[in-house]
Symmetry: C2
Subunit: 256 residues, 2 copies
């Protein structure tokens, strides 16, 4: 981001919570910016710096937020947009590029860069072992932007493929039943003893982890801050006396 004469937009991944996940690249991008845009709880994680403008917005205003940041950058400012986790995984990078795709030609000439971050599923996986140690997929359970029939189809095909799965956006006030339905679909495709991990607020002081078999997984066990990992038929658990159970998916798969 150094040496740019004009304005730019950098989309910065903050990682899953505390500063111990913030990369030096992200740190530098935040320090260099004249203006920072973001969903309020993410912006709150960035220390206030003198002379740096801050624009907080609501979670549902992603395209409007992207457009405001792009217009600001196009006016010649050094603008950062903050995103939880990794901006490229169910976060702001796609919204920004959608806005560029649909926006005025000058936005295409903008210096745009994206700073990756630790996405939630990697933090949850690390806390529990290596449940994503072999082939896996990441699915948003939100049906705000796709029909839930498509979610169900993807869940079935992912189970048939033998992927471990990470679920983003598992529930919200407006989507109370979708996660329970997802577990139901998976119970039709997978054995009931497949391990399911609920990782809430991983990397934050109120972090909570829970591992239980698919047969017992229920929607009320998650909230908006939860990332869920469902194992494949290959996923195993290792019990440890006095320590948390490890969950891992071996590197070897298929017929022996």
């Amino acid at each position: 981001m150094n040496g740019r004469s004009g304005g730019y937009l950098v989309v910065v991944g903050l990682g899953p919570g505390e500063a111990l996940f913030l990369t030096p690249q992200a740190q530098e991008a935040l320090e260099q910016a004249e203006a920072i845009y973001g969903y309020m709880p993410y912006l709150d994680r960035v220390p206030v710096r003198e002379g740096q403008q801050r624009f907080a917005s609501d979670n549902r205003e992603e395209l409007a937020r992207a457009g405001a940041a792009l217009a600001h950058a196009a006016s010649g400012a050094r603008v950062a947009m903050v995103s939880g986790g990794d901006p490229g995984v169910f976060a702001m990078a796609a919204a920004v590029i959608e806005a560029i795709d649909a926006g005025p030609p000058e936005w295409r000439a903008l210096d745009l860069s994206i700073v990756p971050g630790i996405t939630a599923m990697l933090a949850v996986a690390a806390k529990t072992g290596a449940p994503l140690g072999h082939d896996f997929c990441a699915i948003s359970l939100s049906d705000n932007l796709k029909p839930f029939e498509l979610v169900e189809k993807r869940l079935r095909l992912a189970a048939q493929a033998g992927f471990a799965m990470a679920f983003y956006n598992p529930v919200s006030k407006a989507r109370p039943w979708q996660l329970d339905r997802a577990f139901e679909v998976l119970r039709e495709e997978l054995p009931g003893d497949v391990p399911v991990i609920f990782g809430r607020a991983v990397g934050r002081p109120d972090e909570r982890l829970r591992v239980l078999p698919l047969a017992n997984a229920r929607g009320h066990m998650a909230d908006m801050a939860t990332c869920i990992i469902v194992g494949s038929v290959e996923t195993r658990t290792v019990e440890r006396p006095g320590l948390s159970t490890l969950v891992y998916t071996p590197r070897r798969a298929g017929p022996r």
Copy 2:
């Protein structure tokens, strides 16, 4: 990692290359260790510290390396195992837990922790836009530990599910034809204009990126240091005069 009286093993994700991706958590884990184990090129990225032992090993010796590090930690030492990218994604975390699962009971009593890192697909995605902006999967193309028929099945199901895909371990000297076969399989399932990204050594000085349609993707365009992203039918490109093409998968999917 502070305040432990006994030995421990911490598996540390270095991210995809240069130090600008190394999280403060990973940095601290490397500083605290008495001994560091790892595949040689990863170990070479860690600055030499006085009094810190270093144990480099070959890429194919993952289980042996895991066992040596576990035995060392069980003897009371503060041991770090380094891994490129994220240790939980086709890397050392699963090998370590496999070794614990098969090893002596005292290894289960060990203080084990895993420090996540930026995995290759996130760095490649960030460099090109947001190709993983919607549902996606990650597949190892190596048939060292699974039959290639299983890889083919997963590719077909992933294409049918509408996932964007990231390929790890796309080729090696011992696996020269697998990537070409993977592209062939995908051309049977997906339109030829789906964007394919070859990201080589992203985050390192010799980084190279290439975007081309699936119809033109060939195995010789990748080597062992390449991570490949194949878009879904929804993935779009944005041409920019004088700048690299952006690739993104919109957040909206399915019938409009």
